[in-house]
Amino acid sequence: MSRIVSITLQNNDDARPIIEAIEKDNPEATVNIYPAMVKIDCEGRLIIKQETVEELLGREWDVQELHLSLVSIAGNVDEEDDYFELSWNV
């Protein structure tokens, strides 16, 4: 049975550094590009790290800014001050 977690973000300027950070921190992830949106799938677990997004953006980034670009998710959410994680229980 597939245990894929997934996040879909808008394909726009706000989301691009987040997408790039996800690719960096989750080398296993698959990035699917559709009109206007990007769906990123990963087996079991996927993390967005504040530190990585801030490095790419060159400014402070509140993890909750994610709400502005989010289209959909699949997986249990763990939202903290410095990361956002999706996972299925093993």
């Binding site: 894929i4 977690v5 559709y34 993890v63 909750q64 709400h67 959909s72 001050d81 299925w88 229980n89």
Partner: protein, 505 residues
């Protein structure tokens, strides 16, 4: 940088202050009297503090992010209207999907606002109460932004002038309307299972994600922007749906069979309603992103599979009849489109036979079914239409007592036989379209015998008169403009004029 952050409360503490620090137990009145609805469904809750909202949004953050979303959205809506964005869509046939959306889906957002406002009052736990109240505000925002975005199309295209009126009266709109009526008249936990879990978590992705991507692909900047703006809230609503399920299951094992039955029921009701979305994806997008079948595989088989594997540790099984629903993904868009093709003289949007390259696309996407069952029928209808004999079905269809869809869907193992179930209650016979709808009826017949079935109501003389035109006037349709075949419609005439101007320029 980090020093500044440390001086504030952490995200978990802030959320806990909001959802626990601001709640209290009543003392002048018994808590059971203040919250009379949260235990009659049989759901047993031992500890409301066991509720953990994964999105820990506090009010200040909520207003900040929502206002930013609104500013972005209205900048786009404004610019779309100001710059005649409707001229940039791929084809005027596409607008018919928006007509169905505005009359069928947007009023559901309002129904959701009403539902969440109600249950947001009814839970004694502060966590779910806050989450429901925020969602109620979100839903109100969704209906408003959808009306604002689509009002631009209403200036040029037919069928968009009277959505709330139509939603309450028109035969096919009773399908989504009755879905929400059913949910809102259930108890608060069933409401959250139906809307937050079955609809938002398991099924909404099929509507808002690939369809909106399709809207972008077809040049509809206004719709994709409201769609994704709404969807940014939906992602939060989905987590509420998953949280309420886990919360009920973790609180007491006696909750498990109740939750399972609700999941089975609302999964089935949801898939029935999505038949409308299936045909929007396969037939109403001139440029297509993915087929309904492909969307089903990604968003139900794959995403739903992982979800139900995760819930298996609680003893939860995948929804009953999920196997039938997956078989239906090969057929349902074609069968639904055919029903509307039959009855488009009584609908506030147009239908048509797809063009040759579109039929080829469907053949390619549905190798097991399309050429065998559906293409020959469409080609025949096309020939008839071109010979001046456009087919309209002049009798009224029988409706399913539960989902209210005309009984035109077939047995999935035998797509030439109509699927048909009969139940008896108090000496009367009631008809349903499927095993899924029959089970729902049989469990609560006293509820579903009260269904306001449009065809019955027409025959009883409650819908404006005895003749079809009387009924359509009662629906507030502009006859000859809103309804009938797309070819020869005022929409098509206008669109062709615009295209001719473009060529001249």
């Amino acid at each position: 940088m980090s020093g500044k952050r440390k001086s504030k409360l952490g995200i978990k503490q802030r959320y806990s202050m909001l959802t626990r620090g601001l709640g209290w137990d009543t003392t002048y009145q018994d808590m059971d009297k203040v919250f009379p609805y949260d235990n009659y469904e049989g759901i047993i809750i031992h500890d409301w503090d066991g509720w953990e909202d994964p999105f820990r949004l506090t009010m200040d953050a909520y207003w900040k992010f929502q206002s930013e979303k609104e500013k972005k959205l209205y900048a786009v809506i404004d610019s779309f209207a100001q710059n005649n964005g409707h001229l940039g869509i791929t084809d005027a046939r596409y607008v018919n999907a928006l007509k169905l959306f505005l009359t069928g889906v947007s009023p559901l957002e309002y129904q959701a606002a009403r539902g969440f406002t109600h249950v947001g009052r009814q839970f004694r736990g502060v966590g779910p109460r806050v989450a429901c109240q925020m969602q109620a505000i979100d839903e109100l925002r969704h209906v408003q932004t959808q009306i604002h975005s689509m009002s631009h199309y209403n200036k040029y295209f037919d069928g968009l002038h009277s959505a709330p009126h139509m939603h309450d009266r028109v035969w096919y709109l009773s399908v989504p309307k009755s879905f929400f009526d059913d949910a809102r008249t259930a108890g608060p936990f069933e409401f959250l299972t139906s809307i937050s879990f079955a609809f938002e978590y398991v099924l909404t992705n099929l509507l808002f994600v690939p369809f909106m991507s399709g809207a972008a692909f077809n040049g509809d900047m206004a719709t994709v922007t409201f769609g994704f703006s709404a969807q940014s809230d939906e992602a939060r609503h989905m987590t509420l749906g998953l949280e309420v399920i886990k919360f009920m299951l973790e609180q007491d094992e006696r909750n498990i069979p109740i939750v399972q039955r609700w999941m089975d029921k609302w999964f089935w009701r949801g898939t029935r309603m999505l038949a409308l979305v299936a045909m929007m994806m396969d037939y109403m997008l001139p440029k297509r992103v993915m087929s309904w079948r492909e969307a089903w595989d990604i968003y139900f088989t794959e995403a739903g599979g992982a979800l139900f594997a995760d819930l298996a540790r609680y003893g939860i099984k995948p929804p009953k009849y999920a196997d039938i629903a997956t078989k239906e993904a090969e057929h349902i868009s074609h069968q639904a489109w055919h029903i509307f093709y039959n009855y488009t003289h009584a609908a506030a949007f147009h239908t048509w036979v797809p063009e040759k390259d579109e039929l080829d696309w469907l053949s390619e996407k549905y190798p097991n079914t399309f050429d065998k069952y559906y293409r020959p029928r469409l080609e025949y209808l096309d020939k008839e239409e071109k010979a001046g004999r456009r087919f309209y079905n002049d009798t009224l269809p029988m409706l399913c007592q539960v989902c209210q869809i005309p009984m035109g869907f077939t047995d999935m193992d035998d797509p030439t036989t109509i699927s048909f179930e009969v139940s008896e209650y108090n000496g009367d016979k009631y008809h349903t379209c499927s095993l899924g709808c029959r089970d729902i009826f049989d469990y609560e017949p006293a509820k579903y015998v009260q269904a306001w079935l449009p065809v019955h109501q027409i025959y009883q003389g409650n819908c404006g008169g005895a003749e079809v035109p009387d009924v359509l006037k009662w629906y507030n349709f502009n006859l000859g403009a809103d309804n009938l075949e797309y070819n020869g419609s005022p929409d098509q005439k206008l669109w062709d004029e615009w295209q001719a101007h473009r060529k001249k320029a």
